[in-house]
């Protein structure tokens, strides 16, 4: 392990050395056109002057990496960690915030279906992605609820020229994993169309063969994404895009040493109709209607093929939105208004529930001088169930010179209580405990009492005031440096989160089990530093290095440390620890880093791409009896992962690719369930 760290450090050092050398050599001119992005402001903006911390993943990078699903490519980015939460679902952690706090968009509109708070990102194929834009930090001023830790926007490819083009590809990998893509793009004058289809299947994997259950059971899914574009004129354009996704997975369970088998199905449908209207050189409007439905159904049969358990989840979102941008000389004012109509019908809900909300937002993108950019925004959300929210944001960019700029932002983020936290009504069939949503808890407790199932209620618990939205204040301060062959991006962040929703015991049942409900309980904070650098040694060889330092702690633990200061040592004796021994929140690593080597051999049209990732130790739960994670707890050890791919172009149209994900074959079966062993792959692609 030590030697690997040394290697890492050496590589970084080399990079810095090289960057110093280059100052003497400033002959080469960088002709790269500026990258434009849309997620940060909802208007086209040049990335380098954007006052927000942002990461871009290009289609070229995705292609080069040889990965197929959204979660795989995201996990290769600095400051983005894909981790399973307590419930075992893999989600995204950004700036130390859990997966429930990152909004996921496809072409600017959100994915739904957070069955247990987390979106499964493996359901998004990367086969037709143009680029992925990631905005870090609270973005509720533009996007409302959920965008508390940040926003990830997946932007799909669009036909640009008048011709018929496309690509076909097939990839085979370990665990009998198949991924087949067809992406067809067609354009003729005013009309263009794009059809993307993807089929994916895998046998899943099993890290511990001694148990009858696999970590991932076998499944298959397909995606069909037809899109149509019609340009009535230069100034009036229509887009109709659709996405259908279908997944079927083996559902296997062992309950009280009995075997159960069944299926789990997922169906998703997204439809977006958008009209872009350029009134004149100053006014530009977008009218958008978005509808989506996410549905899953699963069942388990016992060994006699008799239905044992069935569950379903059916969520709808309908969102019309209008945005208008007024372009003044150097400034832009963007305003938007829209509404959300959301319904959910699922197992463990008494009835179909729905949310209604209306929102309005305004943004002023102000460029008082060449050097300054000031971005201010505010959004107001009025909601049918929880208190309305006002989310402001202010961000400033200052260009010191051509190469170097400073940026800083402060913003408010929030996440509304979700359907589950308000309406859940679940009693565990084998153990007998109950979890109740906040809005149904009082009535259900009264029912339990009337039925004589209640022993006592926890003193002081009442449901008089509505459950409040979780909210955060987010600060970022960063620099952006680009000169010649070197690019450095540094950002320090701080998030203070209030009213975090957690479960608490509200009553004891006569069966000895507890009834839980959701409350605004804790206050946490996260802070850290993200560093990204890329250095192009030559046109053919470039190295990038990324690092994140993170601290995430619970404020109430620090304030009331006396309640947590005793632990049990290995001899079961009580020992006192000090405040400085508190490690922080579960599932957070202090250090994560990556280094990526990209090498092109033009002669043989070959690209070699090697990525190494490091994650320092983290704790999953308290192991010594004080309910918090302290340095004497048992930790998941730190580890390195490596992904490797080689791509070779043959002629104009063919590409062959081979590689390995998790090249070093690192696994930790008992602690890390989402890390399969080494996965070798080969791919063939035909472009036309």
């Amino acid at each position: 392990m030590k030697s690997k760290i040394t290697l890492f450090a050496t590589a970084l050092f080399c990079q810095i050395c090289a960057s110093q050398e280059i100052k003497k050599d400033s002959v080469e001119v960088n002709n790269l056109s500026e990258v434009t992005v849309t997620t940060g402001t909802r208007t086209e903006r040049v990335l380098s002057s954007l006052p927000l911390p942002m990461t871009i993943i290009t289609s070229k990078t995705i292609m080069k990496a040889g990965v197929t699903r959204l979660n795989e490519i995201l996990s290769e980015q600095t400051g983005i960690i894909m981790i399973p939460d307590e419930s075992g679902f893999e989600g995204i952690q950004m700036q130390g915030l859990d997966a429930a706090y990152t909004m996921i968009l496809i072409d600017g509109v959100p994915l739904v279906g957070r069955t247990a708070g987390v979106l499964d990102l493996s359901r998004v194929s990367v086969g037709n992605i143009e680029r992925i834009e990631i905005v870090k930090g609270a973005s509720s001023a533009l996007y409302g609820s959920e965008a508390m830790g940040g926003v990830i926007n997946v932007i799909t490819k669009k036909p640009k020229e008048d011709l018929f083009s496309g690509s076909l590809s097939y990839r085979y990998a370990t665990f009998n994993t198949n991924d087949a893509n067809a992406n067809l793009l067609w354009k003729k004058k005013k009309f263009s169309a794009n059809l993307f289809t993807n089929f994916y299947s895998t046998d899943g994997y099993d890290l511990d063969k001694s148990t009858p259950l696999k970590n991932v059971e076998s499944f298959y899914n397909y995606t069909i994404q037809p899109k149509f574009y019609y340009d009535f004129s230069e100034n009036l354009k229509l887009t109709v895009s659709n996405r259908f996704y279908n997944m079927k997975m083996d559902n296997v369970a062992i309950i009280d040493s009995e075997n159960y088998k069944g299926d789990a199905k997922e169906n998703e449908w997204n439809s977006q109709v958008k009209v872009e209207h350029k009134w004149n050189s100053k006014f530009y409007s977008e009218y958008e209607l978005y509808a989506t439905n996410y549905k899953n159904d699963s069942f388990l049969n016992d060994s006699n093929n008799v239905l044992f358990e069935q569950s379903y989840y059916d969520q709808w979102l309908l969102r019309p939105e209008i945005r208008t941008t007024l372009s003044l000389k150097n400034d832009k004012i963007t305003g938007g208004v829209g509404l959300n109509y959301e319904t959910l019908d699922r197992t463990y809900f008494d009835k179909n529930v729905n949310f209604n909300s209306q929102y309005i937002f305004l943004q002023y993108d102000w460029n008082p001088s060449e050097k300054w950019n000031v971005l201010t925004g505010i959004r107001y959300d009025n909601h049918s169930v929880y208190a309305s929210q006002l989310s402001p944001k202010l961000a400033v960019n200052y260009k010191i010179n051509q190469n170097f700029s400073l940026k800083s932002s402060v913003g408010y983020g929030y996440k509304a209580p979700d359907f589950r936290q308000l309406y859940f009504d679940f009693t565990n069939p084998s153990v007998g405990y109950t979890v109740l949503g906040y809005n149904v808890a009082e009535d259900r407790l009264n029912q339990f009492e009337a039925q004589g199932q209640l022993l006592n209620r926890t003193a002081g618990v009442n449901f008089d005031n509505p459950l409040e939205a979780e909210s955060s204040i987010n600060f970022n301060f960063g620099t952006f440096f680009k000169k010649d062959k070197l690019k450095i991006d540094v950002n320090a962040f701080y998030n203070s989160i209030q009213n975090l929703i957690d479960t608490r015991v509200v009553a004891q049942k006569t069966n000895g089990q507890s009834i839980f409900s959701y409350f605004n309980i804790s206050e946490i904070f996260t802070y850290g530093l993200e560093f990204n650098s890329t250095y192009d040694f030559t046109k053919e060889f470039s190295v990038s290095f990324g690092y994140q330092f993170l601290t995430a702690k619970d404020k109430s633990v620090l304030d009331n440390f006396e309640d947590y200061q005793y632990i049990r040592n290995s001899d079961m004796q009580t020992v006192q620890i000090s405040k400085s021994d508190y490690f922080g929140l579960y599932n957070r690593s202090k250090h994560t880093a990556n280094i990526k080597f990209s090498y092109t051999i033009p002669k043989i049209k070959t690209d070699i791409y090697l990525r190494i990732f490091y994650r320092s130790k983290y704790g999953m739960f308290d192991t010594n009896g004080n309910q918090i994670l302290d340095k004497y707890d048992t930790f998941v050890s730190d580890y390195f992962l490596a992904n490797f791919s080689v791509s070779k172009n043959i002629g104009e149209n063919f590409m062959l690719q081979a590689g390995a994900n998790n090249l070093l074959d690192y696994t930790d079966p008992s602690q890390i369930s989402n890390l399969s062993g080494r996965q070798l792959f080969a791919r063939i692609q035909y472009n036309f």
């Binding site: 015991v505 004891q508 006569t510 069966n511 000895g512 004796q573 009580t574 006192q576």
Partner: protein
């Protein structure tokens, strides 16, 4: 277990003789001995949706053993602990309170608790009230709803006034047979392991 008991008895005898021999010196009270009780079985009937019942396992600190007579100080059944003082709580198969027992809860390491807590901090069992709380900050255990593991809280020392007015301090260590460091779903439960120190002398410290 037996040899341990023998050793402890010898130790107790030694302390007893030692304290006899130093009778003249009235200022010196010998330090209490910490005794570990392992695998004290506390079965219950019912549970998991059924009414809980069955006799309590009664323990005497002065005798350092399970007793069946009225000389018990605290008694166990499942996760419930009762004290021999006050009145019946109102649960099934509960023994009569015949003594003057009470409980005071102190935070700290076992060794750090040396002074008897103030008399006002002691609580007795009573109608629907437990001297050993079953939930909240002073419950002796934490229950993990995901793993269903009962873990004894660290740093909770229960100072028990015995049925006959003496004092003992108790720290509960484990609810599982042979006190595994990380119990799992297969560990046999309702087997208490705890440390206690009994002060037989009339004094105010352990």
């Amino acid at each position: 277990m037996k040899t341990k008991f023998l050793k402890l008895s010898l130790l107790a005898l030694f302390i007893f003789t030692a304290s006899c021999s130093s009778d003249d010196d009235k200022n010196e009270i010998p330090a209490v001995v910490t005794t570990k009780v392992s695998n004290l079985e506390a079965p219950q009937t019912g549970g998991q949706g059924q009414p809980v019942g069955g006799p309590f396992t009664k323990f005497s600190f002065s005798e350092n053993k399970v007793v069946t007579d009225n000389n018990w100080d605290i008694a166990f059944r499942g996760t419930t602990i009762i004290v021999n003082g006050g009145a019946k709580i109102g649960i099934t198969d509960e023994p009569e309170r015949t003594g003057t027992g009470a409980v005071s809860i102190v935070s700290g390491t076992f060794a750090s608790v040396t002074a008897f807590p103030a008399a006002t901090t002691f609580a007795q069992d009573g109608n629907a009230t437990y001297a050993f709380p079953t939930s909240g900050a002073n419950a002796w255990y934490d229950y993990n709803a995901t793993t269903h593991i009962i873990s004894a809280k660290a740093g909770k020392v229960f100072v028990v006034k015995t049925h006959d007015g003496k004092y003992a301090k108790v720290e509960l260590l484990s609810y599982y047979k042979d006190a595994p460091a990380t119990p799992d779903a297969t560990s046999a439960s309702r087997f208490y392991t705890f440390n206690f120190a009994y002060q037989a002398n009339s004094t105010t410290t352990f």
